[in-house]
Symmetry: C2
Amino acid sequence: MTRDSYAAAGVDIAAGNEAVTRYQDVMRGWRHAGQLDQIGGFGGLFSLPGDSGRALAASTDGVGTKLLIAAELQRYGTIGADLVNHCVNDILVVNATPLFFLDYLAVGKLEPEIAAEVVRGCFEACKKHNCALLGGETAEMPGLYAEGHFDLAGTIVGLVDLADVPKKDDVVPGDAIVGLASVGLHTNGYTLARKLLDVQIFGDALLAEHPSYYDGVRAIQKVARVHAMAHITGGGLLENIPRTLPENVKAVCEQSRWEVPAIFNELVKRGELGHEERYRTFNMGIGYTLVVPLADAAKAIAAVRGAKVIGWIEARSGDEPRVVIHPARE
Amino acid sequence: MTRDSYAAAGVDIAAGNEAVTRYQDVMRGWRHAGQLDQIGGFGGLFSLPGDSGRALAASTDGVGTKLLIAAELQRYGTIGADLVNHCVNDILVVNATPLFFLDYLAVGKLEPEIAAEVVRGCFEACKKHNCALLGGETAEMPGLYAEGHFDLAGTIVGLVDLADVPKKDDVVPGDAIVGLASVGLHTNGYTLARKLLDVQIFGDALLAEHPSYYDGVRAIQKVARVHAMAHITGGGLLENIPRTLPENVKAVCEQSRWEVPAIFNELVKRGELGHEERYRTFNMGIGYTLVVPLADAAKAIAAVRGAKVIGWIEARSGDEPRVVIHPARE
């Protein structure tokens, strides 16, 4: 992997991949009997004790360097929802319904009013999903965080009937890929964005709330069979779509089928970002994807405002890429 | 509350208490039906869907500024166990058995080898408790963390039969308080300790692993009725014992009944820490407490090496303190 703009901005994707490989090595040799195979790794699945038909799904995530923008602009009201919605979407990929959420807020100097604003954001987003805000930890750690700086992470636990967990093998060539529109960067690519954009000028766009796709996905599931889903987070369309596809297919998307929000065009222009780089660093306008039979595609996109068929599934052989995105004519 | 040494070292307990009050305000007005009353707030309880007799217990915690010592000494092998064991103890207070754990590791610059060492520590401690390491998040956030700095937090989910959750009202005057020995600061009081001690000289003592009390508690439960338990974390004996006691009793402890590890005497001497301050900032040698009927106390302490009767429960009236610790003659 070349050291591209994102790496130059300080985020090393190769190091991230190496860490994941090392984690797998660490965990080789023992596995709890209740631990089920991960479907794409968006959320872990754990067999509900005493109930072989259901599983708990859990995911931990953070807001990332979007926090630095919130801190710089002293706008703390939306990052709680960013976090909760991100977590909801992660376990939605395995079709889980949220049960409860716990937050972790770490600060250099505790300002109770700000902390409460952050927690209020978590609470309101939880409430919208009928998800309990079951607990949390607020840690004051002078020396680790600069004054005014803080970190926010969270863990969600949901429930799913195992019969409802998407199975990779249901995905077949000819299926359509439905994309749900993003509203901006969501929670990814901020380290690079902070280098390229003036935070004061682009504050509103940069802090746009990471949406929950829960209602949209449930609406689509009422009218369409869904073979696979992906939450488009770090790694973009290129890395997230394949996580829930079998090896013998590829996703072929056409950029002309959806609009790229203005902020991404600005980032691409200022950063002179190549094709790979833009689709790996940013969501480029698609926040969540669903693979549905072609016959159900029209019903699916009619169920959610802004949903588009962005591509289709094709057979894949040998070492072909797992995602191809045909650029729009510029 | 006076601004004492701990506050001067940068941790503001009053701000922490204010934040908690504000969180309670935020969450007033809506509560998920599955959310059960917290017993002391060590771990949240959530009714297991479809099984009214059992509940999930969950807790999120961090390692705190002990991390800065690990970072300074470049010793990353034990902090994973610090975190997992801390979380295990937190839900053990409501008698829950761990199911799974998820870690959150945030770094300024990702060093895959170090990250894997941290995760290995989590994994090994999970394995000892037959607890799945179900997932985690590693976030690289240049600008939020200095190079070489990192934060580590985690979330545990366990299971408990509701009939086995200790009930505050079982605690009555005359009950004995059994203390399980600590091995050092565990994960609390490090911001102050770092001001008072030379990290290079006291490294081993400062990084001593936060122990799990799981096996000890289970051994005691085989031979003794247990009315209440507490994990002695931030706030020490003074703040943690009362969390699981009814309002109409107080805990009376006698320092002469247990030995204070040398590191605490050093901290007390160097920091000229008063009585309140030492027992609120540090565990002072007791990591976990159990309230048992006096008739069962001898059996309880015989079941775990180093367990001591450290005090007893007395009736409390009006505005009497909820914990009294009689100092040893010096």
